[in-house]
């Protein structure tokens, strides 16, 4: 059986070398985000043109490289040209013909469409030397993402896949725990609990059977790291899970993912069956005596199911309300049996650690937080996408050097880290190193890796209201503290954004936030304190403007703003706003042809502001709303 894997591996490697050394390949990223950018059309077009022209090229569908801002992404490798693989960005259908005729058929590598070349580190990790971000990034979890075909286990095998598992299966479980301990691996699901300690705790318990759960629920709105890993490199997670199963003695595993991620489900199903085919799952894995299989469970859209005790109820088919701990899940989890729950990235990192050694891993990052952190960078930032940096890298580096900063010259205002449970950190915190402990001190948390940038066009009070609204909707309703206090906080914030808040409300809000942080069953509701307290702490002036002057400085809160067309700036012949206004709220003065907004018809959708040509910029927002009357008066009616 051992020989069997080595055979497979050698064959896969040979095929891979042929593919990489001789064949003309076109890699197209078709993860969910790529699809939204039109990658499937690009793919289809490449297929048709290549067939029509009779070019001998392999089209490979790959996952996400993390450069989501430039999707659809295409990598073309033409060994005959003597050039390394070239990465192209923004390749929508209109560019396909150019690439096919220019590079596939001809000798022109179409450099005007290229983002850079793909080079490989010693361990085979691809990087793009032309993109400065790769100097800061260190890719462990994302190592294979966007370069290998997630639906072809051969690609994974060719890069040494499952050999680590084979080796680990011959090790004593305690030796593996020691290696993980040497790496000082902390769970990537948010809390940062020591993985070695969790596993040892479970290993020491006698009861059988034992279960293993991979937490791929990723309920954080605004986060997509786990989705990308599972869509792009599912086998590294499966391999990590089987290693864990061997350590704790689990016979059955589950991957619990979200129904909102259909592509993850589709790709995982394929990966699981391929892993079974090569004997990495099932009976007597690689002749080691371990029997272990993985079942895929699709959640049904409840944020709280990411919490481990709720997840366990969900798998059991019960109403998923978290319970008080102890007992911990490692003692009494799924069907009352010992259960280990770990995050997707934790398993992927276990695979890397067992491959490269715990010592090497522990040298990356900081003393308290080793290894790398994966962030999903989104919101108001240029290079939206996935980022993997050593722990301890400063927020500034991640947002400005990797992410390219805030678009259109606007000012950075805050970064929201850690999902709804996290906090909003201001400019003055940008030099904080990202690691579990520094972030917690600042009032945020590492979370599982969502990082949303906010700029001067985001209102922090409205942002706090948004998180409270989210948590209130998702609160399971089991404990009264969670149910009632979050609701009360939401009501207060709703008042404030409508201009009906008072100064006393701010103190009340802070007091409630401190209460809720103390008295709930799980962290869903207690974390409602974080977004509220951090915004109050760092952006108090914005709150005060709302309650004292009934003004929204960011010009976002609908009840506190009015749209206004500056007559001097309105180009009379242009009718953009009139034609696009959904409620016909814009009139044209017959004599001057200037436009004016009928305030009682305006629904404040912002379309006129979007469509007003940038050279006129005649549409503005004003706050407080009454200010518009002064402006109209000054303009003479």
């Amino acid at each position: 059986m051992q020989g069997h894997l080595n055979d497979l591996q050698q064959r896969a490697q040979k095929k891979w070398e042929q593919l990489e050394g001789e064949a003309l390949t076109v890699r197209i990223g078709t993860p969910t985000c790529g699809r939204a950018a039109g990658a499937l059309d690009t793919l289809q077009d490449f297929r048709e043109r290549i067939e029509k022209e009779g070019v001998e090229a392999h089209i490979i569908e790959v996952g996400c490289m993390g450069l989501c801002f430039a999707e659809p992404l295409v990598i073309i490798h033409k060994p005959k040209s003597g050039l390394p693989p070239i990465l192209y960005g923004f390749i929508t259908q209109q560019h396909v013909q150019r690439l096919v005729e220019g590079f596939l058929l001809g000798d022109d590598p179409c450099l005007e469409l290229a983002l850079g070349t793909v080079e490989f580190k010693e361990d085979g990790t691809p990087y793009i030397p032309e993109l400065a971000r790769f100097e800061i990034e260190e890719r462990l979890v994302l190592r294979n993402c966007g370069y290998i075909d997630p639906l072809d286990i051969g690609h994974y095998l060719a890069r040494g896949g499952y050999l680590t598992l084979q080796r680990a299966l011959q090790m004593e479980p305690d030796a593996i725990i020691l290696e993980i301990e040497r790496a000082k691996l902390r769970g990537r699901g948010g809390a940062g609990f020591s993985t070695a300690r969790k596993w040892r705790g479970c290993r020491e318990i006698e009861a059988r059977p034992k279960y293993l759960i991979c937490n791929a629920d990723e309920g954080d709105p605004g986060a997509f790291m786990d989705r990308v890993v599972l869509e792009s490199d599912p086998h590294s997670v499966i391999e990590g899970m089987v290693i864990a199963a061997h350590v704790i003695g689990a016979s059955q595993g589950f991957v619990y993912t979200r129904a909102e991620y259909p592509l993850v489900i589709e790709r995982l199903k394929v990966a699981l069956s391929q892993a079974r085919e090569i004997g990495a799952l099932g009976e007597n894995i690689f002749d080691s005596g371990l029997s272990f299989d993985i079942e895929l469970v699709a959640g049904a859209g409840a944020f709280v199911c990411g919490e481990s005790t709720a997840m366990i109820y969900s798998i059991e088919g019960k109403r998923p309300m978290p319970r008080v701990r102890p007992p911990r899940s490692v003692e009494r989890g799924l069907w009352q049996k010992p259960t280990v729950v770990n995050n997707v990235k934790t398993f992927a990192l276990v695979q890397r650690i067992m491959e490269q050694g715990g010592e090497r891993f522990s040298r990356i990052g900081t003393v308290g937080s080793t290894g790398t952190a994966v962030f999903a960078l989104a919101g108001r930032v240029q290079q939206i996408g996935l980022v993997e940096v050593p722990m301890g890298t400063s927020l500034r580096k991640v947002i400005f050097d990797v992410g390219g900063g805030i678009p259109e010259g606007r000012r950075f205002k805050a970064v929201q880290i850690g999902g709804p449970a996290g906090g909003c950190l201001p400019e003055s915190s940008l030099d904080l190193p990202v690691d579990y402990d520094s972030l917690r001190q600042a009032g945020a948390i590492m979370g599982s890796g969502g990082m949303i940038c906010l700029d001067e066009n985001n209102c922090m009070v409205e942002t706090a209201r948004y998180f409270l609204d989210f948590l209130c909707r998702e609160s399971c309703g089991k404990c009264s503290m969670g149910r009632l206090v979050t609701k009360q906080m939401l009501l207060i914030l709703e008042d404030i954004v409508k201009g009906q808040g008072t100064e006393a409300d701010l103190d009340l809000l802070a007091a409630l936030a401190h209460d809720v942080a103390e008295g709930t069953i799980c962290n869903l509701c207690s974390s409602a304190a974080n977004p509220t307290l951090t915004t109050l702490r760092y952006f108090r002036a914005e709150y005060e403007a709302h309650v004292k002057e009934k003004r929204c400085p960011a010009l976002i809160c609908r009840e506190l703003i009015t749209y206004y067309i500056v007559p001097e700036q309105c180009e009379r012949g242009c009718d953009h706003c009139v034609l696009t206004c959904p409620t016909e709220a814009i009139t044209t003065d017959e004599r001057t042809r200037r436009k004016r907004i009928l305030q009682d018809k305006c629904v404040k959708c912002g379309t006129c502001l979007d469509v007003c040509p940038p050279e006129y910029r005649a549409v503005i927002k004003v706050s407080p709303p009454e200010k518009v009357k002064e402006l109209e008066k000054a303009a003479g009616g």
């Binding site: 309920g219 997509f224 049904a300 909707r473």
Partner: protein, 162 residues
């Protein structure tokens, strides 16, 4: 219909979520009869089944429209103006999130992130993702999909212009 479907799942509590998903997939929503049938199949009370089903956002107790619109209000989409997009759909379709138009053509829902945050704000209509939406694009997308404002409004519009 539900009977045959149910028989293909073992009568284990562990299968409940999967069964509910399958029923919704084939019937479009979870009717009272379907919930009762699921309860009989698993030999648990209908209240238990209802308790689980209502906990999750994915399950619907009224049918979908022919076009099902889901507006994302996750953090990234919200930060990029997702609320304005939902507002625009509510206004154009004249239904609230969770509702369906009188002719059963259009239903509207909200979701808390589909993992496509890099293209925020996004909307999913019958499984197709529409990226970087604006309120204006809402009208365009609806027009392309054949949405017509209700007769009443058209008449009102016609009346006004006469």
């Amino acid at each position: 219909m539900t009977g045959e479907l149910l028989d293909s799942y073992p009568a284990q509590r562990h299968s409940l979520l999967r069964i509910l998903q399958a029923v919704q997939q084939t019937e479009g929503h979870l009717s009272e009869e379907a919930l009762a049938a699921v309860a009989r199949h698993l030999k648990i009370s209908a209240a238990e089944v209802y308790g689980v089903a209502t906990f999750y956002n994915q399950f619907r107790f009224i049918p979908y429209g022919k076009h099902h619109v889901v507006a994302c209000l996750g953090t990234a989409c919200h930060a990029m103006g997702g609320q304005l997009i939902l507002d625009a759909f509510e206004r154009e379709l004249d239904v609230k999130a969770g509702g369906i138009t009188g002719d059963h053509e259009w239903s509207l829902d909200r979701v808390g992130c589909i993992g496509c945050c890099t293209k925020a704000p996004v909307v999913v209509i019958n499984d197709v993702i529409h990226a970087r939406m604006t309120p204006f694009k809402v009208e365009e997308v609806l027009a392309v999909l054949g949405f017509k404002k209700s007769k009443k409004e058209e008449n009102a519009g016609a009346g006004a212009s006469q």
